[in-house]
């Protein structure tokens, strides 16, 4: 059950925009779809929403082939847009009705969501008067107003200030707790790491990495150490042939090739009675993995 994409393809002329990608969402949660610009994310999203015909493969939702008329999906596109000269309430009502809601039901949902996203005061205004962030929240409302089971969010946090980012994060957590399936595409890897259990990285239309995020990270050896001390320890670090990647106020980020060498460094520091505030051996971040995978793909 859930969403299944099997060997999905799309060509634009000679160019393979999406080349045989396969993934599935079998239980509620957030799935991260990653890739550089032009990697094929939007094409994949458009195909799974049924607004673009695929050239091959199969996409099913709860066992049924995805077609526009069969699906009840919500979509926040990367290209933000609202009708500039139409009242916010009227356009939300328009989209709610197009998604099959009755007027009364839509009215209730509009006010509920406006309260959650703190945009109630903007409902009677024309959209052209909205700030970018508020416009984005309104568009998020059009994606979720009809209570869809599958929600696709393309760059949901771009352009939001920290307060609004927090509001939206809580909304997404709440949606997952209500059993929604969410596909999220984002360039900020930290956001993906925060929400996603499973990910897929696309590069030039091909899958370069996919699976459970924790399992993926576990397969990578530690590659950095963070050490926070109260004095200069450059000479000690150099003694063990380690490379300093960054240093700010005696907070060192050290590149690791052999983990044992960092342990020796720590012992050395303790023996020399240097006060160590923090010592942490780190696995690569999703950002590191992403860059490594994409760069390898380019090479």
């Amino acid at each position: 059950m859930g969403l299944i994409l099997k060997e999905v393809k799309k060509n634009y002329g000679e160019k393979k925009a999406v080349d045989n990608i396969t993934f599935s969402l079998d239980k509620p949660g957030v799935f991260g779809l990653l890739g550089t610009n032009g990697a094929g994310k939007t094409t994949t999203i458009r195909m799974l929403l049924g607004i673009l015909k695929k050239d091959g493969g199969e996409i099913t939702w709860n066992g049924q082939t995805v077609e526009r008329k069969h699906v009840n999906f919500g979509y926040l596109p990367e290209e933000r847009g609202v009708y500039p000269k139409v009242k916010i309430y009227d356009q939300l009502m328009y989209f709610a009705e197009l998604k099959g809601m009755k007027k009364q039901e839509a009215d209730r949902a509009i006010h509920e969501w406006a309260k959650v996203l703190k945009v109630e005061e903007y409902l009677p205004m024309n959209a052209e008067k909205l700030s970018k962030g508020n416009g984005q929240k309104i568009q998020f409302m059009t994606a979720v107003i009809h209570n869809p089971e599958l929600i696709v969010l393309d760059e949901p946090f771009s352009g939001l200030d920290p307060v609004n980012t927090e509001i939206l994060k809580n909304v997404i957590i709440d949606l997952v707790s209500k059993g929604k399936y969410i596909i999220m595409s984002a360039h900020q890897m930290a956001t993906i790491e925060e929400f996603c259990t499973n990910i897929l990285i696309l590069n030039q239309g091909k899958t370069v990495l996919q699976g459970n995020l924790k399992e993926i990270k576990d397969t990578y050896p530690a590659n950095r150490a963070e050490i926070d001390v109260e004095q200069d320890i450059r000479s000690s670090i150099q003694k063990y042939d380690l490379t300093i990647e960054n240093e700010v106020n005696h907070h060192y980020t050290i590149k690791i090739e052999e983990e044992e060498k960092v342990h020796q460094l720590l012992r050395d520091l303790v023996e020399n009675k240097i006060k160590v505030n923090q010592f942490e051996i780190k696995k690569p971040t999703l950002n590191d993995i992403f860059i490594e995978k994409v760069e390898r793909g380019v090479k």
């Binding site: 847009g81 009705e97 568009q139």
Partner: protein, 410 residues
């Protein structure tokens, strides 16, 4: 079907709430009311119109006092027969001071009678008004004949009543006022063209404001194109009906009875013509609106809209002029062709019906051709629209569009 209704009502609400639409409609209606009031306004400013004041001076009493009869001849002048023999300078002064508009000076010269017509500026005139010439001549002839003491029969034989009439040998006969028909054609052209153009502008707005992606995930492209086209068409039709109704009511309220009839042959304005005009407005609108939907969907930036719409504008202008110029010769084969050719038939057929030139079969054939054309345009337009709306790259060329139209997947 429910989605189509939703798109339609949203489009209608959006259109009629636009300030530009409300202001332009009110402005047109006000202009119509003012237009029909122009005769009343002139009358109010200048006082009751009795015609321009014409002073007639018979220097040597050639007419023996019979010039008074000119006043009964309804020549459109406020005639005054001079009681004293004004000099040319005095007359010029009267004209300069606008006491009189013009003067007619009659004086003998050798064996003839010289009649001079004086007015401030002769730029707009080529000769002395024919009505004046004729009246003066007939007045003088009657005066002289009266002196001969002829019998009634003799008098009648000298002044026969000729009845001139114009007839053609060709069987097909056009009736009605070509000028009035041209106005109908022109109104139809502007109504169709401007309403259809709104479709393009509405689609481009959706595309450039990036709302399109949200919209196509909410309903099908076919529903969007048709809903939008029908919605704008309904607004256009209501606007047209409003304009025509205002014109008719204004004509009834503000014009003197018989004034319209003296300009137009109202016998040809029948309910059938009204229905046919509305049918051709709707069909013509659909043909051009769908073409505009096609071009509107290919544009990503507002500045490209003009160039993308040029081919449709050219087509409309060619269609319009094809019917407009052939109206000068309504029985020509070219005008017949224009009434069947789908790009010109909406502007031409109502005219031919008004002229009494089109049979029911002609009308049926013309409508059938137009409907088939609309179906073909709709199919291609929806296909291209479905593909083009999600394209935000550079402007598409004809090759891209042909490829899209042939795309079986779309």
């Amino acid at each position: 079907m429910k989605d189509l209704k939703t798109v339609m009502s949203f489009t209608i609400k959006d259109m009629i709430k636009r300030k530009s639409f409300v202001i332009s409609t009110i402005l047109i209606l006000v202009l119509i009311v003012i237009g029909f009031n122009i005769p009343n306004i002139i009358k109010a400013v200048k006082g009751e119109d009795q015609g321009d004041k014409l002073l007639v001076i018979d220097r040597q009493n050639e007419f023996e006092g019979t010039l008074e009869n000119l006043k009964q001849m309804n020549l459109g002048y406020d005639i005054e027969i001079a009681s004293e023999n004004y000099t040319d300078e005095q007359i010029k002064e009267k004209i300069d001071e606008e006491e009189i508009k013009s003067a007619l000076i009659i004086e003998p010269e050798n064996q003839t009678i010289k009649v001079r017509y004086l007015l401030k500026n002769t730029t707009m005139m080529e000769q002395v008004p024919e009505t004046l010439q004729r009246s003066i001549q007939s007045l003088y002839t009657n005066l002289q004949i009266g002196k001969l003491g002829l019998t009634q029969e003799q008098l009648q034989s000298l002044t026969p009543n000729f009845n001139f009439s114009l007839e053609q040998t060709e069987e097909q006969k056009a009736s009605g006022n070509v000028f009035a028909m041209m106005i109908l054609s022109l109104v139809l052209f502007y109504a169709i063209y401007f309403c259809a153009y709104q479709v393009s502008s509405s689609i481009t707005t959706e595309k450039t404001s990036k709302i399109m992606e949200t919209l196509v995930t909410s309903t099908s492209p076919r529903t969007i194109v048709l809903g939008k086209t029908i919605g704008i068409g309904i607004v256009g039709l209501i606007q047209m009906i409003l304009i025509v109704a205002t014109a008719l009511i204004s004509a009834k309220l503000f014009l003197e009875p018989g004034m319209i009839e003296s300009l137009l042959d109202m016998s040809n304005v029948t309910p059938y013509l009204g229905i046919i005009t509305i049918v051709y407005f709707i069909l013509g609108y659909f043909a051009y609106a769908l073409l505009y939907a096609l071009t509107g969907s290919t544009v990503s930036k507002p500045e490209d809209i003009q160039s993308a719409n040029t081919p449709v504008a050219l087509l409309a202008v060619v269609g319009f002029y094809l019917s407009y110029f052939t109206m000068m010769n309504p029985t020509s084969e070219l005008n017949g062709f224009a009434s069947l050719f789908p790009i010109s038939s909406p502007f031409c057929m109502p005219f031919r019906i008004m002229m009494g030139l089109a049979s029911t079969t002609d009308v049926m054939i013309s409508i059938a051709i137009l409907v088939v054309t609309i179906l073909i345009i709709a199919r291609v337009a929806i296909k291209i629209y479905s593909n083009a709306i999600l394209n935000y790259g550079s402007k598409m060329n004809l090759r891209d569009l042909i490829k899209m139209a042939r795309d079986k997947n779309a």
